[in-house]
């Protein structure tokens, strides 16, 4: 009994004194941060890190209210979020920890192999509605999108649709897994998922950002040599003042051991 009490007090004390680091935000970055934290803690048993999700916006809001030390984000901090931080007397430091490529997926029976950015934008804006308009068979196109709260939704809108809005009444799925499931069982479907989620039940399209001159297949190698265009950086944001406390962990993530975990999880390394 005594030992338990001792252990508990020692534990709480260590948690309090070592100023536990908190990481919060994007669900896309979540598995990466968890894995990084786990291995980091193995090497530094005295440190303490808690990782939680909730969405990129939630993480940055938590940085603003001081309830997290690092905000993980799958999108760049927005202009007004930076302004709010500035108004609260905080300066956010930005670190890119990895890259994530988005793959556009269709039903495996679909004969279409590649699409241009313009065609993709028109499909998701509802201007192209049949596969025969882009060289496929006479079949209605069924676009699947993520929910508006997802960072993936925002990034696709920014990169592919150049900030135009999605068509009214687009099908929106609550998770990446649901998109894969729906795309694999709907003939005319098209959707977008993180590269790490690709599997054989769906077909990934080649994408062209130069109007159809060259099409590139989504793969880690192509994303790394920058020939695949739909790639987004994944960020850590932290307050400049707390740099000393978070630096060891951030450095670990950027080290070769940390970047090995990045590629294991299916993201693209920074270097």
């Amino acid at each position: 009994m005594k030992t338990i009490i001792l252990f508990v007090t020692a534990f709480t004390l260590s948690v309090l004194t070592l100023s536990a680091q908190r990481i919060k935000g994007s669900d896309t970055v979540l598995p990466l941060s968890q894995q990084e934290a786990e291995t980091y803690l193995k090497q530094n048993p005295t440190a303490s890190i808690t990782v939680t999700g909730g969405g990129s916006g939630v993480g940055i809001a938590a940085l603003l209210s001081g309830t997290t030390d690092i905000a993980q984000s799958s999108r760049k901090i927005k202009f007004d979020e930076r302004e709010k931080l500035k108004a609260a007397g905080k300066a956010a430091k930005e670190i890119i920890i990895a890259y994530d490529a988005l793959a556009v997926v269709i039903h495996p029976d679909n004969k279409v192999d590649g699409l241009t950015r313009e065609q993709l934008a028109d499909i998701f804006m509802g201007k192209i509605t049949n596969w025969k308009e882009v060289g496929g068979t006479d079949l209605r196109i069924v676009p699947y999108s993520r929910e508006t709260s997802s960072g993936t939704y925002e990034f696709f809108k920014e990169s592919v649709m150049k900030n135009k809005n999605y068509m009214n009444g687009i099908m929106s799925m609550p998770a990446t897994g649901a998109i894969i499931q729906s795309v694999s069982q709907t003939k005319g479907s098209i959707g977008y998922v993180g590269l790490a989620y690709l599997n054989t039940s769906v077909k990934a399209l080649k994408i062209s950002y130069d109007g159809g001159k060259s099409y590139t297949e989504p793969s880690v190698a192509n994303a790394k040599n920058e020939s695949y265009p739909i790639v987004r950086p994944l960020y850590y944001y932290y307050e400049a003042k707390s740099e000393a406390t978070v630096k060891p962990f951030v450095d670990y993530v950027l080290s070769s051991a940390g970047q090995l975990i990045v590629s294991e999880i299916g993201f693209i390394t920074v270097r």
Partner: protein, 406 residues
């Protein structure tokens, strides 16, 4: 003597405890309702353009005000000339402009410390471009500078909210909050679900209470009640993996995520409630009533139809209300199988979006206190009133029926 006193004191304490727990429950319910309505109340005082932002045009532009749909059309590139907006402006081409665009022209250092020079640079851009419409944060906006005209901001109108047919809450610069497709979607899915579940549920209830042997009932009833304990996300996943392809193949549809699929999964989920409550009500029919009916020469089926069902009618309507309540409020399963497309429902075999699914999917990321957040709370109020209406009308119907019989 003392034990008696002690017992009395104990009773007193228990009585008070019961009163307190009743009061706490009532208070909690009241607090939740008040919270719901309070959070939603600010919506119709929010500007229709994103908070903290405004739209600016060239000073010579005669345009006075733009509707939300017009703003969206402009920034989506659907409206490209000012003449299309019935404003007689010679420099016809519309040039949409966002704050990010300025950073492509000037580097951060050129904009000065804390963006001190930003308003001047923006004013310069606006003066240069006669067809411009700029969507800028008010903090850095070139308000009142020569050559710049600010478009007056408008509040979100209740008519646009309740009558609007597009739900695009994150559209920039002007989000569209039209809840009609969501309300209709919710009603559509729930009503069809109850139309499927009710006949099925009542038949099973009659079978269990009147026809089934004791042994069948003994294992079947707990099995059905167990169904009610399955988490709804499991139902949702079952729906997505099994029902969606099934519906798609059975009706030869391009998409399997339809209102009908949602109704099916909701019907399955409402069945245990309907069966349990209705069966209990039927089995509570007094033995004398059954025996009297049989003694008068009525058959088994006649007794069920003329005696037991009328006697149990209030219980049956309670079952219906609970079933509808379950269907209307169900979130996760519907979120996974209906496809969540916010369109006006035309047929059963199209994707729809329900109110609970919308709230669940969007509330997490909506900035607290913003228009989107408030709109979701107003949706919660709408859902609350819908359920209230259904309960009250069912109660009223049940009261009317029972007074007719007895």
């Amino acid at each position: 003597m003392s034990t008696k006193k002690l017992r009395r004191a104990g009773e007193y304490v228990i009585e008070k405890l019961l009163t307190v727990s009743g009061a706490v429950t009532g208070l909690t319910m009241l607090t939740i309702t008040v919270f719901l309505f309070k959070e939603g109340a600010g919506l119709f005082r929010s500007p229709s353009v994103e908070k903290g932002y405004a739209l600016y045009v060239h000073a010579e532009n005669p345009v006075e005000r733009l509707s939300v749909n017009e703003i969206k059309g402009i920034f989506d590139g659907e409206i490209t000339v000012w003449n299309a907006l019935s404003s007689d402006y010679p420099h016809a081409e519309i040039v949409p402009y966002r704050i990010e665009d300025i950073f492509q022209r000037y580097s951060e250092s050129e904009l000065g410390e804390d963006y001190a020079l930003l308003p001047d640079k923006l004013a310069e851009v606006i003066r240069e471009t006669s067809g411009i419409i700029a969507f800028l944060p008010q903090q850095y906006a070139p308000t009142g500078m020569t050559g710049v005209k600010t478009l007056p901001s408008q509040d979100i109108r209740p008519a646009d909210f309740f009558g609007g047919t597009s739900w695009m809450p994150t559209a920039t610069p002007a989000p569209l909050f039209g809840v009609l497709p969501l309300i209709l979607g919710t009603l559509f899915v729930s009503i069809v679900a109850i139309l499927i579940a009710l006949p099925l549920g009542l038949s099973v209830a009659i079978f269990l209470s009147e026809l089934a042997g004791t042994r069948t009932r003994k294992w079947m009833k707990p099995a059905i009640e167990l169904l009610a304990g399955i988490p709804s996300v499991v139902y949702g996943f079952f729906g997505l993996v099994v029902l969606v392809p099934l519906v798609q193949r059975a009706f030869a549809l391009p998409v399997g995520e339809t209102a009908f699929t949602g109704s099916l999964i909701l019907a399955i989920m409402a069945l245990p409630t309907i069966i349990t409550v209705a069966e209990d009500a039927m089995r509570n029919t007094p033995r004398e009533l059954r025996e009297a009916s049989l003694a008068l020469g009525a058959g088994h089926w006649q007794t069920i139809r003329k005696v037991i069902i009328p006697y149990a009618s209030s219980g049956i309507s309670a079952a219906v209300v609970l079933g509808i309540g379950r269907a209307i409020g169900e979130t996760m399963a519907v979120l996974m199988v209906t496809g969540n497309a916010a369109v006006m429902p035309h047929s059963l075999f199209e994707s729809v979006r329900t109110i609970p699914a919308t709230i669940a999917a969007e509330l997490g990321e909506a900035p607290a206190g913003g228009a989107h957040y408030q709109a979701l709370f107003v949706l919660g109020c709408v859902l609350f009133l819908l359920t209230l209406l259904i309960s009250v009308s069912a109660e009223w119907m049940a009261g009317k029926q029972s007074s007719k019989i007895l």
